[in-house]
Symmetry: C2
Subunit: 414 residues, 2 copies
Amino acid sequence: VRSPKAALVCVGSELLAGQINTHQAWLSVRLGRAGFEMVGEQSVPDDVALISLAMTRALAAADVVVVCGGLGPTFDDLTREAAARALKRPMTFQPALWKEILGRFARYRMKVPEENKRQAMVVGGAEVLRNPNGSAPGQRLRAKGRTMILLPGPPSEMYPMFDAVLPKLARDHARGVHVASYSARLSGVAESTADESLDPVRARWPNARFTILASAGEVSFHATSAEKSAAAARAATARLRQEILDAVGAFVHGEGDQTLEHALGARLKKKRLTLAAAESCTGGLMGGRITSVPGSSSYFLGGVVSYANSVKIKSLGVPSALIAKHGAVSAECAAAMARGARKALGADVGVSITGIAGPDGGTKEKPVGLVFVAVSGPGRAETLKRLEINGPRDVVRGRAVAVALRLAFDAVGA
Amino acid sequence: VRSPKAALVCVGSELLAGQINTHQAWLSVRLGRAGFEMVGEQSVPDDVALISLAMTRALAAADVVVVCGGLGPTFDDLTREAAARALKRPMTFQPALWKEILGRFARYRMKVPEENKRQAMVVGGAEVLRNPNGSAPGQRLRAKGRTMILLPGPPSEMYPMFDAVLPKLARDHARGVHVASYSARLSGVAESTADESLDPVRARWPNARFTILASAGEVSFHATSAEKSAAAARAATARLRQEILDAVGAFVHGEGDQTLEHALGARLKKKRLTLAAAESCTGGLMGGRITSVPGSSSYFLGGVVSYANSVKIKSLGVPSALIAKHGAVSAECAAAMARGARKALGADVGVSITGIAGPDGGTKEKPVGLVFVAVSGPGRAETLKRLEINGPRDVVRGRAVAVALRLAFDAVGA
């Protein structure tokens, strides 16, 4: 079974001036899971010749080309013109579409700038894609058996429009391809160890596509395989899942999009336990991640950011003698902070982080990157981990949070 | 004065499978400030034909091509082979380079895998770029007056190698171009307002390049202008700076790379004031940002994440009657939280955030996105801001943090 190919064109001078390109990752994941093989991405400035050239190249390499950005109303929104040029087709003003755009503005009682008329210009043969979340309509173009989709740049407009058009893209180009797809989320394991353990799985699936992505303290492993029928795809998904869990199941905290903070939250919710945090070198990052989950207020009570030792003593009840004897970066202090957070906030489980994030503050005995994380509870259980993390300040802090969340996940239990 | 052109090639299948491409933004900013005009970026999977094609296209469009990734020791590290193919040159094994690589491993008492020999393969005519931070050497290639640089993928190796090679790139390709460059960092202002206020500056500099980037609650404005002499560049930088400050100076918290948390920290340090935080809906994100600054322990004592009302009452001393009367998301509660954090931690200044981040929990009177931020101190000063933020949970939280940091920045004063 041959996978159809997809390519991306990201339009906007800001992408070549410091703005992080998040569309590339978002679209790649979705297209990959839908059975497309990604052959490349191009970012181009707001220049009609460069955009048009990028489109031509992408159309030569891929069955489906997704273009995002440059559909706004201003003079530097040139994606429509570039598409017309790349396909050698005219553009026409569509009065009906203009009326729709006017209607949208009227609902918000806004005056419509004359320049917005550009947004009612449509490339010859295009199907207009409605935009319920903004003024820029998208366009769907077919040429020589290929499809090019023009999407608006803002994520709140682009995401739903892409999700709406994806099933048809798959029907048109991945006909007969049924995709088996499975993603495992791992923590508490090094990327290289996970990678090695998964080698036999890859060896058994020579035609599947695997990707392994590591970020601070976490590893994602994705597998997709193109199959000949829906039943075969279902069976392959089940087999891939089982083989991956057999290989690295002990480290898997979630499947699909389930983050570590989601997985921890789900366990706490299921067991009706509450959580409190005590953070030193991470300054609140752990609480920030825990509360990124909607509804986390049902199990997360809050925490204490005890950056200064006085706060560790006063707000968390860490004995000053303990700090004097072992130091604020010690197993003893981490354990006392976890117990202290639990007690001060009246939670079932307390989780703590204390360490030296750097770049300064390290000594020979306690180098930069030395971090202790501890969990107190549920019940009488106490667990602790000592880490020596190699890397700059943000890496030390990010990995410390992931390890602490994983320790709490294990302590709460399935 | 004509600006030389630069293009990027980012190599790695992970970039087309969900990994965020941060090199694109990082390299674009540096090349832009050095006087290069960015004409595009391509991300390609680990496929020698696709990498080579991307290089050929980039070399046709730009004076300087920066390639990152694919210089590791494994079978899917193909950037060297692709460069040799694109330039139609042989690759040779360099025993001296191999000895250096072996020496590096010996220092860490590691066994060297045989496959690492690939890293001692050098494209004909290349200058080898030493890598003090990893095993992958870089390569600098010249062809038909153009330069292509091969850099390793890991940021800890790529960043210093690029910084080391940039002056020579500028000397070779931006000879006679002297770059005036100024960046202002703004907060407490909408992007559209800042943009409009800066229109007259842009109009006075038709040949300069301007970029405006907005992220949650903050706006960056960069200006570069190619000048004929070092003296002209210095004068133009000073004039750009003055004109930009005249237009939007009230909103500028920093210049160059100075983030809002850096700027706030600098003011606190200068005035020898300490800071404490109280966070509800942001769960610790504000503390996380404040402590991203190395040395922040000299002014940041810590904070309380009062996600549950019980924590607001117990740890911050917010009267339960106040919460009963006004609710936890209210101006009154925000003010009491800021005072409470200040008092509980013994800080000179307290800053607080309380709000409804969504997606659930909103009511008609208190919709999702309603946020109050407050600052107590220094001295008797109290300030407060009410926000209605439109957007998903992460946008609400990110913007709330930026507004709170800006409010504290203003309260501390210059």
